[in-house]
Amino acid sequence: MNVNSTSAGNGGEGTPARESGRPRVRPVTPRASIDSALPDAGDEIAPEKRARVWPLALATLVVVGLLAASLFIGVYDITDGDLGAEMMWITRVPRTVALMLAGAAMAASGLVMQMLTQNRFVDATTSGTTEWASLGLLLTAIVAPSVGLVGRMVVSSLFAFIGAMAFMLILRRIVIRSTLVVPLIGIMLGAVISALTTFLAVQFNLLQMVGTWFMGSFTSVVRGRYEVLWIVAIVTLLVFLLADRITVAGLGREVATSVGMRYETILIAGTALVAVAAGVTTVVVGFLPFLGLVVPNVVATLRGDNVRSNLPWVCLGGIALVTVCDIIGRTIRMPFEIPVSMVLGMVGAVVFITILMRGRSRA
């Protein structure tokens, strides 16, 4: 019953919209009914609980503990003389800071994407955004090799933005927007783009370089090679500022518009934030698969869908997950390291499948 009305409403909406060429204005009333009919939109939103402060404080403590562990785990003996103490500042602190920044930003941007697309299974990696970012990165290497780190990040973020917007636009045109179709479209889009990237890399003999580049790893993070990551701190901050608006936007365009919000502006702003986070992280660290997917989902399962009150949890969760994975990566094969993306991929895949199964049994 539910499904029927949804698809019928969508089909009815899709056709006139395409004919008029202006999909945005027309279907105000049918849309609202569709959004409320979507299984995810309604039942996941729990009323905000007056959560006590201590759970968050406790979680913060745990994360601080992890970060401290990250500072003290490494091959070099930091108690060994002057250089030992200096090594702390040369590699350990930068690495830990990078873990914090990247973890928080990627998790937060995953949350933003999930709200904006109204789909639990979307993040920068399942929407093709990171693939676009890496295409941009590769193109800078081919077209303007001397452009420098900042220029490369700008191009990368720009491509990520184009990619994320393309994904959003395709989503609007899609008739069946079931929970699984949406990330599937993103993954397909990403596959097409990464095929293009691979093709270009093969053509220009950059394949192996690209392989090392995009492999998410904090091994090469040392003083002087990570500072640009602070940009994503700003992204995370902006997500905090926009949190309420993103929550409202997450209820769908009609609800957002009816409470007087500029839906399109928030959509574009949110997408831009995600793009910058994905672009910068891809350039400095590489792919961090599943991070933006797993963390917001776990938090939402436990706490419901209020972006503002969830955000600290999502950020802490992102930092914790990426830190744990990095610590695993650098200890199990000491003195060598296993790229964090590999560990994250394994952990993330398990959690992702678990979420999928649970979602299925619930529906």
Binding site: V75, Y76, A141, N205, M209, T219, P335, F336, E337
Partner: protein, 336 residues
């Protein structure tokens, strides 16, 4: 009417069959004659043992296709013409082949254009190495050609393998003396480097790519690994089960600093491609190692004991490249 039209094609068909039969016959009759003329000049065949067994190879074959990067340098020295070569993985090291439009491009080993080999109708195909996976296909597609694979075998001593391949090339292209000289030069270079080594200094081999450093294990590590065994170098860091792939093991500057090597031998993997317009994020090996804060107290850096491999080493890896590397190492050791 109908009869006529149906008969006409049949007649034509018969004529065509007769004509083609004649052609085939003439082809058959002419080719042995040609062979008979060519063979005495070429000096018949030589029996060699490649990685797959014993093969009879025509001496100084007319049409040669080479796919193994180990042989291009030698073939260039001996002025051997090639009908086709994988220009995609030859960089700019052998312009005599890559810039020559008569040499058909087979592309790279990832997307090889194997048909181009068939079209060239080669007498000899030197397959193997990066094209090792295509060996069976090549053999099947070119039943009339002699296919050999003389690339260094895994698990064998690389230096012996390089000399073996070189000797075989000498037999095929009738340059046995030159091949012998090249082999001796390698032995001399190894002996020289061994002599210059003080026997105690610790050495670490790394490669760099895309701003990251990979550890090359003694023995198995790509390119530089075999140098340890050949010279009896003391590794600064030795770990069980290290990787033998082209990337090496992900290693942090901390770990390099902790192992405190007296010498670092570095292969810059990105250098062979577009060396002039280098990508900044793929910082050159020098910047990553000598410029690293974490490594500033390591003896290899403080004493300037860093040996950078030739930018094209990753492409050549042949007997000449190793000879030069050993000479380079000898010079560095002697100067220290």
């Amino acid at each position: 009417m109908t009869l006529r039209t149906s008969r006409k094609p049949r007649l034509l068909g018969l004529a065509a069959i007769a004509a083609s039969a004649a052609l085939v016959l003439s082809a058959c009759s002419s080719s042995p004659a040609e062979d008979a003329e060519a063979k005495p000049e070429a000096g018949s065949t030589v029996s060699i043992t490649d990685n797959y067994g014993t093969v009879d190879v025509p001496v100084n074959p007319k049409t040669v296709v080479a796919l193994d990067n180990h042989v291009f340098e030698t073939l260039t020295e001996w002025d051997v013409k090639l009908a086709a070569a994988p220009k995609g993985i030859m960089g700019s090291v052998w312009p005599g082949y890559t810039d020559n439009e008569d040499v058909v491009d087979i592309g790279s080993h990832r997307e090889p254009n194997l048909e181009a080999i068939v079209a060239a109708q080669p007498d000899l195909i030197i397959a193997g190495y990066r094209f090792g996976d295509s060996y069976e296909d090549i053999k099947k597609q070119n039943p009339d050609s002699v296919v050999i694979d003389i690339a260094p075998r895994e698990g064998e001593d690389l230096m012996t393998e390089l000399k073996r391949g070189n000797t075989i090339l000498g037999q095929i292209f009738d340059h046995e003396d030159e091949a012998e000289a090249t082999n001796e030069k390698l032995d001399d270079a190894i002996a020289g480097a061994k002599k210059a080594y003080n026997g105690t200094d610790t050495v670490m081999a790394v490669n760099t790519s895309g701003g990251k450093i990979g550890y090359l294990a003694p023995g198995v590590g790509r390119s530089v690994g075999p140098v340890f065994g050949a010279l009896g170098l003391v590794p600064a860091l030795e770990v069980e089960g290290a990787s033998s792939d082209h990337q090496g093991d992900d290693i942090s500057v901390e770990a390099i600093a902790a192992s405190n090597p007296e010498w670092i031998i570095a292969l810059d993997r990105d250098a062979s491609f577009a060396p002039e317009e280098r990508e900044e994020g793929s910082a050159p090996a020098a910047e990553l190692i000598a410029g690293s804060e974490a490594l500033k107290n390591v003896p290899a850096v403080t004493k300037g004991n860093i040996i950078y491999l030739d930018a094209n080493f990753y492409l050549t890896e042949d007997i000449h490249a190793y000879t030069e590397l050993f000479e380079q190492i000898q010079a560095a050791f002697a100067a220290a």
